[in-house]
Each structure stands twice: as structure tokens, then as C-alpha cells.
Symmetry: C2
Subunit: 271 residues, 2 copies
């Protein structure tokens, strides 16, 4: 159906870039789960924006720093600040965290919202662990963490919404988030991506052709790496495309990345 | 009073750095108003974190892009996204915006929360202006701004909370915010600060001694510049200090900065 209206259905891409579909099913295209993506984003920084409720029930967004206690954010806020008064009166809260930007288009970058309620640490042991977690992430908090008018709050995450960029998003439960581990590769991914693109562009194209479902790949570049594999951006004979190639098994460290990439290259070239 | 408790009153700086007080009143230490600071921060970027209310009344923090229509943020969000559904059901919202970081300590950087409620544009003229304002700030929105399931929302700012860093914060009303102008100097301040520190350190120290209230200044560096003057960080014979020196009259452009700085230097040196 066409329409004379200037509005378009979301299904109509308008002049948005269109992507070539794969010609065969990618091999081993496993990705991190939404809970793993969320844990990785939460571990990638120490500041975020908190949403709380004012006395009138209005939503209040404010900048905060945090550390992580088994994945749950630990805040240290002044009881005199608006967000501190809000949390003391109503524990419902959510925290929006942005991963470090890798794209110039803001909406192409990864972010997560962690939602739940805050609690004071349950006992002295948890208080000590929460204090240490906050200080490990926010060294300058040593100047105020023990002030009488500052409180430590643990955000007990009940649910989350992860957005990986355009068209990549999902939800997860708090229990899955706490059980997940941050990706061990992502903190150093930028250097690995640069190395793969500078020195191994032919291998990336071979992977896309043999394992990524795009036998008509002309050129390929790596846009991301994590414990499970590589994200690739392709030029094909049919236009631009994105795909994914997975490692034979998940890797735990940067030192394992080299052998995993060599194994992928051998498999792609049929050796 | 001393205490055996590990907690400290907020008034006790503990091992936080202490600052030397001025020995005389600074001359012309006018600063931007909180409303002006807020307008400048809002104009400094195109992404922020929105707080909305879920169907259950919980606070929901989510990343958004925005443009500005006479200072009021213009959002363009999917009606299918959680924040889009929230705004359609309850217009109360606030937006936390971070200025580009100038300090490594996250809490030392400037930010603002703009709070109010969203409205659809009031008529076709405002809709066209809101659409243009969003697209000017977020060029990639051209791919989805006209989709039927995306809505433009104007956040009518009713109040704001500005935080300039440690110990610098204030509130302002929405009307004052809309009447304020973004600072014309701040977008290019970083280069000016570098130039002043690299080439005019003696002049900065002379300003601090004669005009900034610190005749015992040993060295001075510039930490910020805006339409009204210069922020200075000093080493004095009594320790570290911060002060401010104001231009003879507010400046409107980078080209006026040079003559204003020369005039300040002459005045500081008694010429």
C-alpha cells in the first residue's frame, strides 16, 4: 500500500540504507545474551543517569557515579541532594548506562537501563563490600563516602532493557543479569579491531564468504569482538551487509584471541 | 568536636583538599547565572538521559537524542519503545544532560536536569519548527522522523537543577531558562584556555594578584572562559585556591576575547 501522507510506516525504510540479506545461513553466529551485554556495559564505566521519584511522583533524572556489587550498582549520594531525598522516600529507581561511544551517531551506541529498587546494605558485611565496590570504581569518593550525610544504596536490579544500537535490543530479568559475566574481551576490543582491519582484511573477507553467509563478499571489516566471535561489516556484490562469525569455543582473554582468529581463518580457507 | 565514629560531618573536609581564602574581594567576579549555565549545557550536545514514568509509576531512565526549540528539548521517540509508551500515557518527564567532560573526575563535570512535561507540538507551525530543531541537532533522525510510529515531543521546562561541579549548583525556573542565551564562548573555550596557559601564564598570575583577591599568587592557570570572564586556579603562598576575573563588559564572540584579555592584563598591571 502506498500513501500520499508524508508519514511512513516503520516497515518502510524510506531512504534509510538497505542491507543485503545472507545467501546461506551463517555458521556459529552465537552472540552474547542480553544479560551478558548488559553486564558488560555496566562494567565499562563508573557514571550513569539515575531516575528517581520526587515527592510529587514526578520522574527525576540525575547524574551519578557507581560501582558494582555482583552486578548490582552501588550508589553513594548526599541525603541533601534531590536524588538522595527521593531515594530515601521511595526506593524505586532505574539507572541508564552508556557504553563508551564507538560510533558518531549517538543512537548507534550501546546502552542499558537497569530497573529495580534501592536498599541500604543489609548488614555490616554487605556495607563493607558495597563501600569497597564503590571506592574501587570511583576513587574520588574517598573524600565523601564516610560523611554522615552521604548514603550507600544498592540498586537491586529486577529487570533490564538493553539496546545494542539500531535494531538490536532485548529485555532480561535481574537474576539472569546477576548470573551473567562481563565480557573479558570488550575492554580491549578497540585495539584488536584495529589490528584485524589493518593487517588481516583478506582473512576477514574469507571468513564472511565461507562462514558468514555472504559468498559474494568483496571486502570486510571488523566492527566488534567479544568472547564468542567477530562482528563484520561487508561490501558485497549486492550492497552493504552485516554478519557475524563465531569462534570454535568462547575465549576468556586477549591472549586466546590470536589463536581463535587463526583457527577461524584456517576454517574459512578450508585448511 | 572530634568523634570516634568513622563517619564525619559534611562540614569536616577530612583529607579533601583545603583551599586558601581570598585576602581581598575579587573585582568583577560576575559569573553566568544558573539559567545561563543550563542553557549552555543544553546547547553543548544532542544526547541525554530521559526520566519517564512506567504504567506502574516507576521511574524509567533511557537514552535519547534531542534538539532545542527556544531552549525546550525536542525529542523524537518511537511510540513502541518503553519511553515512548510512557510519555504517551503520562507527560511528566525530566532530562539529564552532561556537558562535554573537561575533568577526569566525573562529578567535577557540569550537568543539568531539565524537568517539566512533554507536549505534542501545538500546531503545524510549531511542529515544523520542532522537526527542524530536532533534525538540525540529530541529522540521522532523517531516517525515522517521519515514520508513523515516531512522535515529536517538546519538553516544556518548568524548573531545572544545574550542577557545575563540586560545590557549584543552583536551581532556576523554566521561564528564566528560556530567556537565557547559551554562552557564545564556551564551545571554543578549550582552545582559548590552552592558549592562555601556554602563552600568557604571567598575565594570568598578575590578574589573580590585582583583580582576583589573591595578592600572594605564585602561579595561575586558566580553567575556563565564558562571556563574563576567566576562571583561574592558583598556587598561593597559603596553598591552592580558585578565583575569577571578569571582563570589563560581556563579550559575544571569540574575536572579542583577545581584546578583553589584553584589557584585563593592562588593568592587572596598572597600565
Amino acid at each position: 500500500m502506498t500513501s500520499a501522507s508524508p508519514s511512513r510506516d516503520h516497515g518502510d525504510p524510506g531512504d534509510a540504507p538497505t542491507l543485503a540479506p545472507p545467501l546461506s545461513a551463517p555458521v556459529d553466529a552465537v552472540r552474547p545474551s542480553p544479560a551478558e551485554e548488559a553486564r558488560t556495559i555496566a562494567a565499562s564505566t563508573n557514571s550513569a543517569t539515575l531516575a528517581t521519584l520526587t515527592a510529587g511522583g514526578d520522574p527525576w533524572a540525575s547524574f551519578v557515579t557507581y560501582g558494582l556489587l555482583d552486578g548490582d550498582p552501588v550508589l553513594c549520594v548526599s541525603d541533601l541532594a534531590e536524588h538522595g531525598r527521593n531515594l530515601a522516600a521511595d526506593p524505586r529507581a532505574s539507572l541508564a548506562i552508556l557504553a563508551p561511544a564507538t560510533e558518531t551517531d549517538p543512537l548507534a551506541n550501546a546502552r542499558v537501563t537497569l530497573a529495580g529498587h534501592v536498599e541500604a546494605p543489609r548488614d555490616d558485611a554487605e556495607r563493607a563490600a558495597a563501600r569497597a565496590a564503590h571506592l574501587a570504581a570511583v576513587p574520588a569518593a574517598k573524600y565523601y563516602v564516610d560523611y554522615r550525610d552521604f548514603s550507600l544504596w544498592v540498586l537491586r536490579v529486577q529487570r533490564l532493557r538493553w539496546v545494542g544500537g539500531y535494531g538490536r535490543m532485548d529485555s532480561a530479568a535481574g537474576a539472569d543479569y546477576r548470573a551473567a559475566q562481563p565480557d573479558p574481551i570488550r575492554p580491549d576490543a578497540a585495539g584488536a579491531v584495529t589490528h584485524l582491519n589493518d593487517d588481516h582484511a583478506d582473512a576477514l573477507a574469507a571468513m564472511a564468504r565461507a562462514l558468514g553467509g555472504y559468498p559474494d563478499t568483496v571486502t570486510a571489516s571488523c566492527t566488534g569482538v567479544d568472547r564468542y566471535g567477530l562482528d563484520l561489516r561487508l561490501q558485497t556484490e549486492r550492497g552493504m551487509a552485516y554478519t557475524r562469525v563465531g569462534f570454535a569455543s568462547p575465549i576468556d582473554s586477549m591472549t586466546e584471541l590470536r589463536s581463535a582468529a587463526v583457527e577461524l581463518t584456517r576454517r574459512a580457507r578450508g585448511h
